[in-house]
């Protein structure tokens, strides 16, 4: 399938359904993310945003429907999911840094074990990325000695170390103290400027408004509205969206 420019989407889900037992969490979602596009997914808690994101890199196995990445369907038997996942970076709400490894080793582990990059080269890349997220001085620290904002920036560097084609963010600032939200958003803004393809589940409407090419509103397992930010925030498509936006500080 192709997007409006005739190019293959970076990621596409088609008729995606996901149930946990009896509970249907995604009720037939279609979404294509173009190369270089930044999509912000918003919606009430429990609406299925994380599940949608996690289906994209198959951390959750869809119950039915298709997931495509760079022109190949990936939720098929026989697909090497590890090869797919190493091209999709993921950043989690609770960081999920490896506590037993130093910051530097967090950023080199997958490079050496998955990409089979040599140790020196992996460390060089890790140092460059840590410098980029402003944590060059912390390379020998263990994650538990870092603030939440620092942890999340290390997690971003860890994902970037794999040279991913797309970055998936699952509420990257929701677990942070307010004063640390900006440093993480600034790092994400920089990725946007560099043209990274990004799918970001977020409640940060300021970020969504300035950074996203498209806002996707998910409610009760379905996409109920999507539009570029100006239109989405300027003239909300439905009462449901308006009601949601009113409750969120912007």
């Amino acid at each position: 399938m192709t997007d409006q420019h005739g190019a293959t989407p970076m990621i596409e889900v088609r008729a995606l359904r996901k149930s946990f037992g009896e509970h249907e969490v995604l009720k037939g979602v279609d979404l294509a993310v173009a190369r270089g596009e930044v999509v912000a997914i918003i919606g009430p808690s429990g609406s299925g945003k994380s599940t949608l994101l996690r289906c994209m890199n198959l951390l959750e196995q869809p119950s039915s429907g298709e997931v495509w990445f760079e022109g190949t369907q990936i939720n098929l038997p026989g697909v090497d999911v590890n090869r797919v996942r190493m091209r999709m970076g993921m950043v989690f709400q609770l960081f999920n840094l490896f506590p037993h490894l130093t910051v530097l080793d967090n950023v080199t582990l997958a490079q050496t074990k998955v990409l089979r990059t040599g140790r020196d080269e992996a460390q060089e890349r890790a140092r460059a990325l840590l410098a980029k997220v402003g944590l060059a001085a912390k390379e020998q620290a263990y994650p538990n000695s870092l603030s939440g904002g620092q942890k999340q920036r290390v997690a971003i560097a860890r994902a970037l170390a794999m040279r991913p084609a797309v970055m998936l963010f699952d509420e990257p600032t929701s677990a942070l103290d307010p004063e640390m939200v900006q440093e993480v958003l600034a790092t994400m803004d920089e990725l946007v400027r560099e043209g990274m393809t990004m799918v970001v589940v977020t409640h940060e409407m300021g970020f969504a408004r300035r950074a996203a090419d498209r806002i996707v509103f998910v409610d009760e397992g379905s996409i109920v509205a999507q539009a570029p930010p100006e239109r989405f925030f300027g003239a909300p498509a439905s009462a449901r969206v308006r009601q949601f936006l009113e409750k969120i500080p912007t």
Binding site: N57, R85, M90, L94, L97, H100, L109, K113, V114
Partner: protein
């Protein structure tokens, strides 16, 4: 009392030798038991149901029967099938299998105590299931295993006294031989009690020190 001291003094080389055998039996059983425990623990969390079942059955049977029955079964019952097992081999293997069952549960519990997010982060970076286990889960799980493993190693050291019942001349059997010649029950049992206590103290202090050294990141 002086006769007792004299008996202990005269037979001390024999007691030391017995203690050495105890250490040998315990150390070999500990290493083999740790291998069994790691294999069993990994099997318990395997995605393959038959492997999980096998490991669960192992733990259930071994923990559900007395050690002494297991030991006698191997030492006295196997010969009826034409399999003669030397006492030392029976001792080490039975202790290892017995301890391995407990270690299996320790390993399983520690692996399952590692947050799901750790595996998810590892998998999201492209690490395979096995690599995630090897580089992310097990190193963290190992630290959580240490306190219960320390207890298990102490239990193993104490259980090793039971192999005296299949003629392995370790510390307890050495003591009994000395007593049968000197009748100095009090001094000799007191002495080996102290010797066992020293051994178990070394084991538990050792695991505590290891834990403290590995805990740098917490």
């Amino acid at each position: 009392m002086t006769a007792g001291l004299q008996a202990v003094h005269d037979s001390f080389p024999l007691l030391l030798h017995g203690a050495l055998v105890t250490v040998e039996v315990t150390a070999m059983a500990l290493v083999l038991g740790a291998v069994a425990g790691l294999a069993g623990g990994l099997a318990r969390v395997s995605p393959l149901a038959p492997l999980r079942g096998l490991a669960a059955a192992y733990v259930s049977v071994i923990r559900g029967t007395p050690f002494i029955v297991q030991l006698f079964f191997v030492y006295y019952a196997f010969p009826q099938l034409g399999i003669r097992v030397p006492p030392m081999v029976a001792a080490v293997c039975c202790l290892a299998v017995y301890s391995g069952a407990y270690q299996t549960e320790i390993v399983r519990g520690a692996i399952q105590s590692i947050e799901r997010g750790q595996i998810e982060a590892a998998r999201s970076l492209g690490l395979s299931r096995a690599q995630s286990m090897r580089y992310v889960v097990l190193p963290q799980a190992f630290l959580r295993m240490l306190p219960p493993l320390g207890n298990e190693f102490v239990a193993l050291t104490k259980n090793s006294a039971l192999v005296s019942l299949v003629t392995v001349q370790e510390l307890l059997l050495s003591a009994q031989l000395i007593i049968s010649a000197t009748f100095q029950n009090f001094s000799v049992y007191l002495t080996i009690g102290i010797m066992y206590y020293v051994m178990t103290s070394i084991v538990s202090t050792g695991t505590q020190l290891l834990e403290r050294r590995l805990k740098v990141y917490v």
